[in-house]
């Protein structure tokens, strides 16, 4: 099992948005807290729709939440 190449700034964004907890974000997105943990750790790539939903929660463009670095 290889981790996804997609990186993200969700953890930093949560802290900059009133120290939002993983549980709070999970509830707003309608997913489990474990899914948020897996996304933050790079063990799960969310669907495009969920990625947009996450960006909308933080009111930032998608590429401020997710990055896809060159090899």
């Amino acid at each position: 099992m290889t981790a996804t190449r997609v990186t993200n700034s969700i953890r930093a964004l949560r802290f900059s948005h009133g120290e939002m907890t993983q549980a709070d974000l999970a509830e707003r997105l309608g997913v489990t807290r474990q899914t948020i943990i897996a996304i933050e750790q790079g063990k799960y790539s969310p669907t495009l729709e969920m990625a947009f939903q996450i960006a909308r929660v933080f009111k930032v463009p998608l590429d401020e939440v997710f990055q896809y670095p060159e090899r």
Partner: protein, 163 residues
């Protein structure tokens, strides 16, 4: 009742030990399914081997133990799921996209072993091998499907889905 409390206690410990990434409802269910399938198969194998002392394996009455271990494993699995649901009803109602993707991944792995067991049983029946071996082959296919499918799901929950 004390059994239910024990299971709840064990589930609580599992949560504490994996604090960085606690188990979801679906992951706990997968553990229950894996353990009940494995235990059922081991008990069945133990009973059949014990009955085969001094007689040919083909003469062992295997149907009763096979059906009763399948039934008991199913029952324990259902009770386990109810206990897990009762320990966190809110979580039990939630199954998200990741759970569904991991479930599909495990199902594909599990079904491949079911197909292998079916094909092997078909070949044995074509060669008119004794019913005993055809039954064992099909049963092994079901057990491998349950155990390896569940193991694949648990690995995906911990390490992520293969890219």
């Amino acid at each position: 009742m004390s059994g239910l409390l024990y299971v709840e206690g064990v589930l609580g410990i599992l949560d504490m030990e994996t604090d960085s990434s606690p188990m979801s409802f679906e992951e706990k269910n997968t553990w229950v399914f894996l353990l009940t399938s494995l235990c059922g198969a081991l008990v069945y194998a133990g009973v059949v081997l014990a009955r085969s002392q001094g007689v040919s394996l083909l003469e062992v009455a295997y149907v009763g133990p096979m059906l009763s271990t399948i039934g008991a494993a199913t029952l324990v699995g259902i009770v386990g799921k109810i206990v897990i649901s009762m320990s966190n009803p809110k979580e039990a109602a939630q199954k998200d996209q990741r759970d569904r993707e991991i479930d599909n991944f495990g199902t594909i792995i599990g079904q491949s072993f079911l197909a292998i067991g079916g094909i092997a049983a078909l070949i044995l029946s074509m060669f008119e091998v004794k019913h005993f071996w055809i039954s064992q082959t099909l049963y092994a296919g079901f057990v491998l499907s349950a155990v390896l499918g569940s193991a694949a799901k648990l690995m995906a929950y911990r390490e992520g889905l293969p890219q």
